[in-house]
């Protein structure tokens, strides 16, 4: 584990250790400064065997994973997968039934001024409707000995400086999200947890969050960003932790996830379907018969399929490469665990996972139907 910390996946590891977070200065200064960031040890979230039961319902079921500094970790899963419960336990709000969640080896509840170390946005609606934005932030700042100057700074940072004196009752959801993010950044924390931060944001706001989280990670901070949207994570996260029904489904780099997802399917229509299928299978491709004279070919590029057909004089009516989207492997992974999957979607998802992992053809039918 320590080895992994010493070799951050992306460059920015400990770039800011010396000048950035005053709250940690006393701690980090006592550690040897290294290019790869000793300081990052202080900011790793470690989740070990975390379990939370609410009565009969097991919201989180033996989760174990690390969230490392310097990268954006996407925390992905369908609604009800246990993402929010996990974050609450990290923040010491809910007590785990068993297991532990620590930050830099310490429990959140043991931190003397937690806002200076960990910033979190759990629920953008959690603001008092009649307490002005600036007062909301001031009450938080005061409790952790953070000055008024910093309150004004973060209000500017999230673009709410002009409405600082207004009451959140009149705020749009997007403005409340920004206020929530301002609160998360108040203590200039080394660890930032954001639960569904893009909910309710307009496209400009979504892009802003994307840039902000990437910048924060580049400064060496630990960023855990939850979402139920794979498409959003694909653009923001470096690393993915996928959960379903409280269990860990995947803990992988985004690149690896994309590679596994990027298998191309070639759609071929030909009057000589049966013959071409045999030829392609002999050449090493996997072939499935579609509707009518359609073939779905995997494991071979469209050019190679064309070459095989040409070499044997098979007439082609269509030759179309089709790239799987990132949503597909994600849905395949979580399909069985979605709590509220629609009745129509569920049997399809089941049969996919039953067919095993290498069912690109099966997921093609799903995507074909969706199109």
């Amino acid at each position: 584990m320590i080895l992994r910390v010493l070799r951050p996946e992306r460059a920015a590891g400990g770039s800011g250790a010396g000048h950035r977070r005053t709250a940690h200065r006393d701690l980090t200064d006592s550690l040897p400064e290294r290019e790869d960031g000793w300081a990052s040890l202080l900011h790793m979230i470690e989740i070990r065997g975390l379990t939370k039961r609410y009565g009969d319902v097991t919201a989180v079921d033996g989760l174990s994973f690390d969230v490392r500094p310097g990268v954006v970790t996407g925390f992905l899963g369908p609604n009800g997968a246990g993402k929010t419960s996990t974050m609450r336990m990290v923040l010491g709000l809910d007590r785990p039934t068993s297991g532990s969640a620590t930050i830099g080896g310490r429990r959140y509840a043991d931190m003397p001024t937690p806002l200076r170390e960990v910033g979190a946005l759990l629920d953008a609606h959690a603001v008092h409707p009649y307490r002005s934005a600036v007062n909301h932030l001031l009450t938080l700042a005061r409790s952790n000995g953070i000055g008024r100057g910093r309150v004004e700074e973060v209000l500017g940072l999230v673009g709410l400086a002009d409405v600082a004196g207004r009451r959140p009752a009149g705020f749009s959801l997007g403005m409340k999200q920004r206020l929530g993010i301002a609160a998360a950044l108040l203590g200039d924390p080394g660890v930032v947890l954001l639960d569904e931060p893009v909910n309710g944001l307009d496209p400009e706001g979504i892009r802003w969050i994307r840039g902000l989280t990437r910048d924060l990670a580049a400064e060496g901070r630990t960023i855990l960003l939850s979402s139920h949207l794979m498409s959003e994570m694909a653009l923001t996260a470096d690393h993915l932790v996928v959960v379903g029904r409280g269990r860990l489904l995947a803990d992988t780099g985004l690149d690896a996830f994309v590679r596994s997802a990027a298998r191309e399917t070639v759609v071929v229509r030909t009057p000589g379907a049966r013959r071409l299928a045999t030829l392609l299978e002999e050449a090493g491709a996997t072939v499935r018969h579609g509707a009518g004279d359609e073939l779905l070919v995997t494991g071979m590029s469209s050019a190679a399929v064309g070459d095989v057909a040409g070499a044997h004089g098979v007439v082609l009516h269509e030759l179309t490469p089709r790239r799987a989207s990132l949503e597909e492997p994600y849905l395949e992974l979580t399909g069985d665990s979605a709590d509220f999957a629609s009745a129509a979607a569920r049997p399809a998802a089941r049969s996919e996972s039953e067919a095993g992992a290498a069912t690109t053809t099966a997921s093609m039918t799903t995507s074909g139907a969706a199109r």
Binding site: R88, L91, G92, L93, D94, R95, Y108, A109, D110, M111, P112, T113, P114, L115, A120, L122, D123, H125, A126, V127, H128, P129, Y130, R131, S132, N135, L138, T139, L140, R142, S143, N144, G145, A183
Partner: protein, 257 residues
Amino acid sequence: MTAYDILRSEWGKFRSIRATLGCLAGALVTTAAYGYLFGLSSARQYLAGSAADQAAFDPTETGFRALVLAGVLVSAVGVLAVTSEYASGTMRVSVAAVPRRSLLLGGKAAVVAVVALVAGPPMALVSFTLSQISLAARNVPSAGLGDPGVLAAVAGAGLFTGLVGLYGVALGFLLRRSAGAVSLGTFLLILPGMAALFPDAIAEWIVVWWPSAAGARVFAVHPGPDGLAPLAGIGVLAATVLALLCAAAAVFRTRDV
């Protein structure tokens, strides 16, 4: 994170909630209005009473009755200081900022207690003055602020409202819902007023020992042989409130937010 930081933070929260300020203003209006009305009612009773009744009449007794009614609103201030955080969802934000929950509860309780403590004597002053004015206007014997024991009762009002405010804080943490905590809090506070509905033995016990009744003994300028001494009475209320606060802290420390 010092206790001072938390007090400042909680004071900031308290100030910016309109409902609590409204309740405090309402409590002051209540003491004024009911102080005057209780005075009128006592005057009528005096004038209709026998010579023996008139001889035993204690004009100070009517002066502070309104404080018990105002206590309902003061306890609501304590309740709302807590339940407004649960209602808006900010309790999670607050606990994330101050994970030492007893300290958070202590900060909230201290702010409410100080505000209620400071608000008590002016309420008592208003109630007492208006009640004596309405007595005097009907040529019924009345008391002055300078009479022995009156200023002590006025000061004691601060203790009463302070404790009642803390009582609201404890109920707020225990029940977490504004409506539930305010209605239960009100019911328990005014229960002695309904003592006559109970069998005699229970009624007598309630009138003497029920914490809100016992606490109101602090207003007794001429405590008779019946009932507790003023300080003993407020002591009963204080012990009850302390027990409720301990229960609230125990629950708040262990419960998921």
